[in-house]
């Protein structure tokens, strides 16, 4: 055994003892009165520690429907003896660890199922832990020492690995990806809008390489392919995502069933193996909990009750309703329609206690599902959407505090909002604390730091707090203020936590962490008869889908150990017999453990960073190991992974022509007519129709509305050109606008208009036709017909006819098409 000193060493000696026996778990009623001590008539506490035991522990356990029913006067140890508090004190000492209350034997015994008065043994264990902490007082909060113990020795087991050949994939999953699944519409490089990864590629080798990360051969149901369909409804190919996901799961299972479980690659240089709970609990974080009057750690993991483990007064347990899922690593995921709420009666202790102190704090560890939700209530103690005592809410990137006092409205308005541009709320796990005291009013802290937002309504008192409201998480009691996200911890305190206390609780973190000791003694050729050498990780379940591994450290349990010089390169995390497919943050590691850098107490840190790897079977089943490219004199040479170029594939034939875009049309018309783009008349029309003109050259994006805009612009350019003598003379040299059109444009007279238009607007010089636009004669025929038709109208004049012929040519496909 070796102690790892995390902060300061505790002053109290741990008294560890085994506890055995006990009746099966039964659910007792909550005591209505845990004992005030007023009825105690026995001998006075003999010293201060017994007095602390009396008020913090004994009074809570001596009720007959808690421990007092048996351990009062009938069954040893009689630590709930109602007649002699000194005798009770002596009886409990072997079963508590005042330096590390959560490691107390009595806590382990209750957690193991011994007569909890709640439905959850874990809840009782946590409550008893709180009572012991309060008893120990400063002795339990001055520091923590972690005893590192070598785990039981386990070799790396076997699991299913992907075969090198894609043959099985080709006959099972690949046909579904490219067939009914229709994944090939996006997930291949030749798709019209290709989306990586290309697991539906026509090249089975490319598809197989991309698909491996999406399939779990040990548990096909947790394959990403299946989850995307079943839980996220990602492009299901029928109307039933459930059916589609079943089909995908069956295909992966067919693949997996033909793969034999293989032992770990014998070429790898691997450590010994262990599971998450084989590690040493890292209970180093010291929280400030003595002011907590309701606390939720979400440890139960099942059922519809969230237990209050504050240990203060009658428990304010909450009931889950609607779309709320338990989250691995402690927590609940609140989705649309979900909330977690307590009763009005049980919630009354909040108002009663907080009105007494005149202060409060709401503390949460929360991961908002997004940063777009508004009016989203994370924690609320209220009666409806318009009346409340206090609410902590999210408004997009802001956190919001609505707190009722004598200087605010009954709805806690005006609310305190964090500054929008600070973007304090993130879609990541955050520690958020709202405090209130009469001097400063409301203050918000995010991840241990005061946001700097000052309450404009400081002062006042909480005299108006209403004890007929209910505590609710993730919504309003009226169900119309939905918050979506993960809650991993919630506490209500009857004091305003100080900045230092907030920082301390943030530093303590959330969830259960372990020190995992991977035995590398044999790899480095050290003496197996002495205490072993390890690469130690701080590990935890990060959420329902991954583990966090942090700060790999080389350490020996032999206090006399000297590492000398041990090179360590290319460390990889393994899970269930194979290296994890992603998250290998230490594969570039290149460090040498030396006598100078190694300390007997702390070992040698190999890397300061952490990483997450995918969870496979769950924390109870997953077995981890480490592999090394080099450790000591052992080496494993890897072939660098290289990409496979996608084979060239013909795409659907594409158009060779496109259209001029808005600015090209404007410049072209100006150049042809000689009217500058700055002319006020054409400028006004251009600005008016600009957004109606083609924005991109793709001819498939050309719309009828584009043509209308082009026609409007062409008419304006032609009108200005004809109405202005200089440009008219330059464009139509022989045109007499005062002459009658029927006379001027009869017979060959039309050439006054046709020749300039054909040569200038259509660029068909010398009668040479382009294959991609109408021939010279075709255009001439169309324009001639137009000129004849307009000239024959009563009241027609030559200027109007010229403008019309010009616009017909200028606004035609000859100019638009590239």
């Amino acid at each position: 055994m070796k102690t790892l000193r995390l902060t300061l060493l505790g002053a109290v000696v741990a008294l560890l003892a085994a506890c055995s026996g006990g009746a099966p778990t039964t659910t007792n009623n909550n005591p209505t009165q845990t004992g005030s001590g007023d009825d105690y008539a026995g001998p006075a506490p003999r010293d201060a520690d017994v007095q602390s035991f009396r008020i913090n522990f004994w009074q809570n356990v001596k009720a007959v429907n808690r421990c007092g029913g048996c351990h009062g006067t009938t069954q040893v140890p009689m630590f709930a003896n109602p007649n002699d508090v000194n005798a009770a004190y002596d009886a409990i000492l072997p079963y508590v660890n005042l330096a590390e209350p959560d490691q107390s034997p009595i806590v382990a015994h209750v957690a193991g199922g011994h007569n909890c008065w709640q439905a959850s043994s874990l809840a009782c264990a946590d409550i008893i832990t709180v009572w012991i902490k309060n008893w120990a007082g400063s002795a339990a909060s001055t520091g923590t020492q972690i005893a590192l113990v070598a785990p039981s020795d386990k070799a790396v087991g076997s699991s299913k690995s992907f075969p090198d050949s894609p043959a099985l994939f080709q006959s099972t999953v690949w046909p579904l990806l490219r067939g009914d699944g229709k994944c090939l519409r996006c997930h291949q490089s030749t798709a019209a809008d290709p989306k990586s990864p290309f697991f539906a590629s026509a090249d089975v080798n490319e598809a197989y390489a991309a698909a491996q990360a999406k399939m779990n051969l040990d548990d096909p149901a947790s394959s990403r392919f299946v989850v995307r369909l079943r839980e996220e409804s990602h492009n299901c190919w029928t109307s039933s995502c459930s059916t589609d996901s079943d089909k995908m799961q069956a295909a992966i299972k067919a693949f997996a069933d033909q793969v034999q479980a293989t032992p770990v690659d014998p070429a790898l240089k691997v450590s010994r193996s262990l599971g998450l709970t084989d590690g040493v609990p890292a209970s180093g974080g010291n929280r400030i909990d003595q002011f907590a009057i309701a606390k939720y750690e979400f440890k139960t993991g099942t059922g519809d009750t969230v237990y209050d483990t504050s240990g203060k007064g009658a428990e304010l347990n909450l009931t889950i309703s609607g779309a709320v899922d338990w989250v691995g690593g402690y927590g609940v995921n609140i989705k649309t329609g979900g909330k977690v709420q307590g009763t009005v009666t049980a919630s009354a202790k909040l108002a009663d206690d907080i009105k007494n102190t005149g202060e409060y704090s709401i503390e949460v560890w929360a991961a908002p599902a997004n940063v777009t939700q508004e009016d989203a209530y994370i924690v609320s103690y209220s009666g409806s959407a318009t009346t409340r005592n206090v609410t902590l809410a999210q408004r997009a990137y802001q956190y919001e505090a609505m707190g009722r006092s004598t200087v605010t409205g009954p709805n806690g308005a005006p609310s305190l909002l964090t500054k929008d541009t600070d973007r304090d709320a993130q879609a990541a796990l955050q520690h958020v604390v709202l405090t209130y005291d009469p001097i400063n009013g409301r203050k918000l802290y995010v991840n241990g730091n005061y946001t700097g937002d000052v309450d404009a309504r400081a002062g006042g008192t909480l005299a108006g707090w209403d004890n007929t409201f209910a505590l609710v998480l993730g919504n309003e009691t009226s169900n119309n203020r939905q918050w979506q996200g993960v809650l991993r911890f919630v506490a209500i305190h009857d004091h305003a936590l100080t900045a230092a206390q907030v920082q301390q609780n943030f530093a303590a973190g959330v969830g259960e962490r372990y020190f995992l000791l991977f035995d590398v003694t044999a790899l480095i050729g050290a003496d197996l008869t002495k205490p072993h050498e390890f690469v130690m990780f701080e590990a935890s379940q990060y959420d329902s889908y991954s583990y966090l591994f942090n700060k790999p450290t080389f350490i020996s349990l032999d206090p006399t150990y000297k590492p000398g010089s041990i090179p360590i390169q290319g460390l990889r995390l393994g899970i269930n017999g194979a290296e994890a497919s992603g998250g290998q943050a230490y594969s570039n590691l290149d460090v040498t453990v030396t006598d100078n850098n190694y300390s007997t107490e702390k070992g040698q840190l190999l890397s300061p960073i952490g990483t997450v790897i995918a969870l496979q079977k769950g924390p109870a089943l997953d077995q981890f190991f480490l592999s090394f490219d080099k450790i000591g004199t052992q080496t494993h040479a890897r072939t660098p992974a290289i990409g496979v170029p996608s084979p060239a594939v013909d795409l659907a034939p594409a158009s060779d022509i496109g259209v001029r875009t808005f600015e090209q049309l404007n410049q072209s018309m100006s150049l042809i007519t000689g009217v500058p783009t700055t002319n006020t008349l054409v400028r006004a029309t251009y600005l008016q129709v600009q957004q109606q003109l083609p924005p991109v050259p793709d001819i498939q994006a050309f719309l009828a509305s584009n043509q209308t805009g082009v026609a409007q612009l062409a008419i304006k350019y032609c009108a200005v050109m004809v109405d202005t003598a200089s440009t008219r003379t330059a464009f139509f040299p022989g045109l007499d606008v005062s002459a009658a059109p029927a006379t001027q444009f009869s017979g060959s007279g039309k050439d006054l208009l046709l020749v300039p238009l054909l040569t200038k607007a259509l660029q068909q010089k010398g009668g040479v036709d382009l294959a991609t636009q109408p021939t010279n004669s075709e255009v001439r025929t169309e324009l001639s017909a137009l000129i004849d038709k307009l000239s024959a109208k009563a009241g027609a004049n030559s200027a109007t006819v010229a403008k019309a012929a010009c616009a017909a040519a200028l606004g035609s496909g000859a100019l638009e098409i590239l």
């Binding site: 927590g331 990541a428 796990l429 594969s587 990483t611 790897i613 992974a641 496979v644 594409a654």
Partner: protein, 177 residues
């Protein structure tokens, strides 16, 4: 580009590993780009655009604060120490982009990182294919188009990377009648 197998050791602290409480999003999507992108982004660690002055600022030896924001999103994430960059895309599936083997694949600052990108085969291909699409109004769709692109890439690389020549050669191919 998405490669979820590259080491994520240079992904910064501000990148949430469990966005919205779901680490699958990180492990299947975010990591695929950030694992290669973030080690490259370190080249610009000393640069910042000052919106007030409208200028780019350079603070030699001092990492800009924007590289260190939202550090509590994932405290064990990477903390940028300097402007040293690494090209992780030289390994894995993105090695197909033809990185120049005469260059080391790492360095300090934007100049050497720019050289790393500009000397890749993919840079030339990207430029030529963009020109092809602009001039020909469609991407290369058949073997004739691809042959033209390959030929133009050679011209581009061997002719001193003159884009004008790329336009000329591509226009000659697509000029029609």
């Amino acid at each position: 580009m998405l490669d979820v197998k590259l080491p994520p050791d240079h992904i910064r602290q501000d990148v949430a590993r469990s966005p919205g409480g779901d680490s699958r999003v990180f492990l299947n999507n975010c990591i695929g780009c950030h694992s290669g992108m973030d080690p490259m982004a370190e080249a610009f660690a000393y640069y910042n655009f000052n919106a007030d002055s409208g200028r780019i600022e350079y603070t030699a030896g001092q990492v800009q604060p924007k590289y260190l924001i939202n550090s509590d999103n994932f405290k064990p994430g990477f903390v940028t120490p300097d402007d040293g960059w690494h090209n992780y895309w030289r390994q894995g599936q993105n090695s197909v982009y033809g990185w120049n083997t005469s260059l080391p694949g790492n360095g300090n600052g934007a100049k050497s990182m720019g050289a790393e990108l500009a000397n890749s085969d993919q840079f030339a291909r990207c430029a030529v294919e963009k020109v092809f699409k602009t001039v020909c109004l469609h991407p290369p769709v058949n073997s004739a188009d691809r042959a033209s692109v390959d030929s133009t890439i050679n011209t581009f690389k061997n002719g001193g990377y003159k884009l004008k020549d790329v336009f000329a050669q591509t226009a000659a191919y697509c000029k029609g009648n």
